[in-house]
Amino acid sequence: MKPIKRISRGVVAVAALLMISAYFVPLWQILMWAPQYPEGLEMKIWIDTLSGDVKIISALNHYIGMKHIEVEMFPEFGYMIYIVAVLIGVGLLAALWGKRLGLWIFAGLLVATGIAALVDFYLWGYDYGHNLDPTAAISIPGMSYQPPLIGTKQLLNFTAFSGPDIGGWIFMVSAVMAIGALVYEIYINRTK
């Protein structure tokens, strides 16, 4: 197994350590604006909880039959802290081990986790937006209210935006650093 450069080991260690921030800052955000809410409403997704105007958003969404958003709805909040801990551990081990396989495992895990998180979020959003209470006060045939996965979407009188928050951005930086280290290792070995 090929050993990796000291600089790559350093980069991987930093990438792993950066992810500790996930325990202290929000990872994802959903922002909403309406004529009645020019100041906007926000929902922040943390590693183990939700914050922001969740109650207000739920109160408004009950008119169209959407479920009341509760932290308990998301089993993810129970195990995400462990997944991130494993990721950080794998990253630090990869840096200690100093082999290219370690780098592959770490970068691969990061990308896989990112994709899994987006798929999970999409599936929840699909259910939240489609599985509506049939007795809701406002029912528009053919209309569903799935929030955007990433980006902006108009939902009735609301403009909704979904995207990474600080923690999400830091995660992406970590992933870019890990992949960058891997690409660098492959590149310098080829040119040798």
Binding site: D53, K55, I56, A59, L60, Y63, A137
Partner: protein, 664 residues
């Protein structure tokens, strides 16, 4: 032509010429248009904020109103001394206590003067105080919630006009009686024994710097005159207070004539630091009194009233050096200290000049015992010894003076209906503008503070006549804004006010807006009948009292079906607004209630008491247009005959409900 025809023709010509000449001599009507840039100066485009809050007394409405400057837009009327069925103030179980007095519940009063709290003589944006002129009281309004937080009654007072002026750090709010009254055990006396039995009192109300709580620290027993207005010293004169007084003739009938006899009445200078020294030495006398103090608790959303029984008094006729009189021409009204604290402007409302007194000279005169005599045992300083100078021929009937930051004073003239700008040091008249009509008070933003914000002077007028579309015999009250940034004052806007306005203060929006309360946190709601969620909504019977713990959230009330209530019951609807979102109040009203509605802010609980008088099913609903399904926010309560055995039950969203006591 014969002679007759010639004469006739000449007569016709002469008449026509005469009429023309007379027309030319007729004075011009007052100018109704102002400068061409006026509209721009008062224009605040849609979606933009005003620069200042204008806190305007509501006069005989008993309330205080909030306008924006320079737009003159009305934002809010704060219920203070008069009950307000719109918000339920004085009607809800929580707020009834606010209007309690030693005379019982008093539903109305007359609010003349706001005073915005200061720290180091500058606006701090914490509270605004207001006076009740009829049943003497002082109110404190919280500028976070724009609600009345406390009302304290004043014993030994008859008409609290000389109030609620404040000291530099809001140490004290003062209250001087407009009517002297007989006090103590001798209250059933002949009115003609005025000189012997009638006393004036000045109350110093302390304000707790932490939470604003008020307490009468002490009262000064003063001669039986009428106190009109007052201002605290500031800077070098901090520690002193100046009160204008009229009726030093001590008349008790036809004051219009009998209180206007003397050439000079007084400005009373009070050394309150000296009074504090006497108090510390235990020279105060505890006197029996009976007065109410009502406080609103934001955590229980409930007011409580306590009856106090004692007040501490000092007698300046015995305890020397607390008060001095300064002669001031013709029934002084306004008594205003300039931003430097050196000059005190007295405005004799029947005078044709304005005397300006110097604090330094007053101190010298006291040190040199430069007195012209005594009035009721109190030394009277010689007029000339206290005088800085007189503003000559300023106008007729000066009332009030405000100041800008550049050493200028602005005095209102009721009789000549104008504002006159003059320089405080040189006493030179600089400019004058007419007001429409008969200005009373006026306001420069920060005018009574050490650092005036300037920019505008606002006139509060007593007569509007031809300025607005008529509405029958009673016309709107009004204010006018003048731009004072240039050398000449320029009228830029007329705006109608609730009324009638007396004094007003203006404070920069930046001092109030950032700290404005948006919601009350439901977790911090300690109301004994709160329901912090629909799961806590319920109906309980205690004898003939029925307590409904009701919740309101867009767009339903819980419970919205109630049965098992009987004629003879007293029903208390304790409605909690579960919203935690700004600008989403809910309302509550029920058919036939001999009461009012409730407006309940997010996170708040309010209670409407209702006595059903006859059998039937009564609808109730949300009165504040809260949401798209506001109209659906309604429910029923069934009232059965007295002694009926219909079981108590309540629900929301149950359509096939047969089980007794079923809640959701």
């Amino acid at each position: 032509m014969d002679k007759k025809t010639i004469l006739r023709s000449l007569l016709v010509v002469a008449t026509l010429v005469g009429i023309t000449v007379l027309q030319m001599c007729k004075p011009q009507a007052p100018a109704s248009v102002s400068g061409s840039d006026a509209a721009v100066k008062a224009y605040v485009p849609p979606g933009q904020y005003d620069e200042f809050y204008n806190l305007v007394s509501g006069g005989f409405s008993g309330q205080m109103s909030v306008y924006g400057l320079p737009s003159g837009r009305l934002f809010r009327v704060i219920p203070v001394f008069s009950e307000d069925p719109t918000t339920g103030y004085g009607y809800s179980e929580e707020t009834k206590a606010m209007l309690n007095t030693s005379h019982g519940y008093v539903p109305w009063d007359d609010l003349h003067h706001p005073a915005v709290s200061t720290t180091n003589g500058e606006h701090d944006g914490r509270w605004v105080f207001g006076n009740a002129n009829n049943t003497p009281r002082v109110a404190r309004i919280d500028l976070k919630t724009f609600r009345t937080s406390e009302i304290i009654e004043l014993p030994n007072s008859g008409g609290n006009h000389s109030s609620p002026f404040i000291t530099e750090n809001t140490e004290y709010v003062v209250a001087g009686t407009r009517f002297s009254v007989p006090v103590g055990d001798k209250t059933d006396v002949a009115i003609s024994t005025f000189k012997e039995n009638f006393k004036g009192y000045i109350s110093f109300i302390s304000v707790d710097p932490k939470d604003g709580k008020m307490n009468i620290a002490f009262q000064l027993k003063t001669p039986g005159v009428s106190f009109d207005l007052a201002r605290a010293g500031k800077g070098p004169s901090h520690g002193w207070f100046f009160f204008s007084c009229y009726n030093t003739e001590q008349a008790y009938t036809l004051l219009e004539v009998n209180a206007s006899q003397k050439d000079k009445d007084f400005i009373m200078a009070v050394n309150w630091k000296k009074a504090e020294e006497y108090l510390a030495q235990g020279k105060g006398e505890k006197v029996k009194a009976r007065y109410a103090r009502n406080r609103y608790d934001e955590s229980t959303h409930t007011a409580t009233s306590e009856m106090l029984t004692e007040v501490l008094q000092l007698d300046p006729a015995v305890l020397k050096d607390i008060i001095y009189f300064i002669p001031c021409p013709k029934s002084p009204h306004g008594c205003d200290t300039d931003p430097s604290g050196e000059y005190i402007v007295g405005s004799g409302k029947l005078a044709a000049l304005i005397p300006v007194f110097s604090f330094t000279k007053i101190q010298q005169a006291i040190a040199n015992k430069d007195f012209e005599g005594e009035f009721a045992g109190i030394p009277v300083i010689k007029y000339e010894s206290a005088l800085h100078g007189e503003v000559k021929k300023p106008g007729l009937g000066p009332l009030h003076t405000e100041f800008d930051a550049n050493g200028n004073a602005y005095t209102s003239f009721f009789v000549s209906s104008e504002i006159v700008k003059w320089n405080v040091k040189s006493l030179e008249v600089l400019d004058r503008v007419p007001t429409y009509y008969s200005i009373g008070h006026l306001c420069v933003p920060g005018g009574p503070t050490r650092k005036p914000h300037g920019k505008y002077v606002i006139a509060y007028n007593k007569i509007t006549k031809d300025r607005y579309l008529p509405t029958g015999p009673e016309l709107t009250q009004s204010a006018q804004i003048y731009d004072i940034t240039g050398e000449k004052m320029k009228l830029i806007l007329d705006f109608p006010t609730i009324g009638e306005p007396h004094y007003a203060e203006a404070i920069p929006a930046s001092l109030i807006m950032p700290q404005s309360t948006k919601i009350f946190k439901i977790e911090e709601n300690n109301h004994p009948y709160v329901a912090k969620g629909e799961g806590q909504a319920k109906v309980e019977r205690k004898g003939n009292e029925v307590h409904v713990y009701m919740t309101a959230i867009r767009s339903h009330l819980t419970p919205d079906n109630i049965e098992g209530v009987r004629v003879g019951d007293e029903v208390y609807f304790h409605v909690t607004n579960l919203e935690q979102d700004w600008d989403v109040p809910h309302g509550f009203a029920i058919k036939g209630a001999a009461n009012a509605e409730l407006l309940i802010m997010p996170g708040e609980t309010a209670t409407l008491k209702w006595k059903p008088l006859s059998v039937g099913v009564y609808p109730f609903y949300c009165t504040d247009f809260c949401s798209a399904l506001h109209q659906e926010m309604q429910g029923y309560i069934r009232i059965s005959p007295a002694g009926s055995n219909v079981p108590l039950k309540y629900s929301t969203g149950k359509t096939d409900d047969t089980a007794a006591g079923a809640g959701r």
